[in-house]
Amino acid sequence: MKKKGLMDHIFGAHNYEDFYNPKRQAKIKDLGDGKVKVLVWELPVRIWHWVNFLAIIVLMFTGLYIALAFSSARFETHATDFLMGWLRWVHFVTGFVFMAALLFRIYWTFVGNRYTTFDIYKPGFIRGLWESLKFYIFLPNKKPHTIGHNALAQFAYWIFFGLCSIILSITGLYMFFEPQQGTHFMMNTYILGWVPHVFGNSVKLHIWHQGAAWGTMIFMVAHIYLAFREDYLVRE
């Protein structure tokens, strides 16, 4: 493999195949007839995807109720009335599922096949970003056929979805433990004590949490649409 310079790094061809760790090959099925099927998304990644999907749906609807409390007041109350309590409980449990899934996905970045990782530091990434963007805004482009995610999609996953998930987890965890404010767990700088010094007081934490939640909603709209669009355009 030829050594690449900085300019190649920025404007070089968008082809990472040479740079992948050879030990992290995806499984390839020979379909005969000169065609192969590359099994890009491993089973654990697929399971993670749908667990995450369900968690986000549940979190969004329970979260919306917790934030807006849109049910109207009733006056024939019952001893078992516990709507906000239950929805908060569901939100918390699902939140922990979401965080466990996030941790698993970060772990899988290091052990999964080459398509579970990211290529931001690899040659041609910025070129790939630009060509992918032109593809999406209907300009003539040289977006290569990528196996796995294209550069723009990777960027969106890491910066948008990844960052939002991490902000949601950290602020969510802190708010979950707020009633135990005086404990070592909340005071210790190395555990959660640093959170309010980064994100601000409780009001600001709530706003970060909601902002990041809406961030994932916008990501979801674009993600679902582009998945269908890709199928529609590439289908032969």
Binding site: A69, S71, R74, G182, V203, K204, W214
Partner: protein
Amino acid sequence: MEKKSVFQSAIERGVSRRDFLKMCTALAATMGLEFSQTDKVVNAMETKEKVPVIWLQFQDCTGCSESFIRSSHPTTESVVLDLISLEYSEVLSAASGHQVEEAMEAVIEHYKGKYILATEGSIPEDGIYCMVGGKPANEIYERVAKNALAVIAYGSCSAWGGIAGAKPNPTNAKPVTAFDSGDTPVMIVPGCPPISEVMTGVIAHYLTFGILPELDGFGRPKAFYKHRIHDKCNRRAYFDAGLFVESFDDEASKQGYCLYKVGCKGPTTYNSCMEMRWNGGTSMPILSGNPCIGCSEDGFWDAGSFTERLADIPLPQKIATVDPAVIGGVVTGVATAAVVAHGAATAVKKNIDDKKNTHEDH
């Protein structure tokens, strides 16, 4: 200056031993000590001399002083006359002008490292917008704080910047923690104003144990600021049940339902109003049907309307704020519309391209 214990000066003022013990018991309760620890308080008051206090006011409204003089357990007169020796206070000092300024200098000289500095109000960064006795506020603060034993920053202005520090903050007001106090520890007691028993309680804690109370990550005394209003609220059951007041005159408000939807900041506010209550334990806002306005939190004045729960994202003009749920909903709606339009454009383009290709094939 002669040195007398707190007990001695109280007895000289005509307080009976019985009343003195009552005061100590009240103090112990205020500090959150067990009843069995009352003797520690009594012992401290019998042996320790009154602690000199300099009370500096900067960009404030004197509301904290007003709250302080309404303390009922212990009563203000027992605090001001027995517990502490208030050497300098713009509100309470009998002397004025250069005489009282001289008194302050005398304290700094005679009690170097032994007096408590209480502050009220924020300090403008340049100091020039707040001059007392011909000196800028930041210079006064830094000099008095560096020679003090401890600084107690009373009120949200001193603790966070408060009202003077709210947008657009013309004087560039800062909390006292933004200024150099040397090695002197700073404790903040936020609130607009803080609860009077909390204000006196932290001084009593110092007198009893000789150290400042345990502080949290922001420098607030844990004993009074470790719980949110929400976690101690008497209307919490209505919150969990999902029963909310929609407007201030509806049936739900008469039933005493949760004030979450009319802007209660209880879920994001650390203070002890629910336990201590106000005006000698009479009541507090939520008990009287008004939502908590979150006055002890950083930036409460900029956090939008008192009757909106979460509206902290400022609009460009910086005069109003808007709920993140509104912004989120609008942006997601716009994104969905954009996606639909983009989808339609994709379909049209593919049709044109396909037609072109079939023409070329012929």
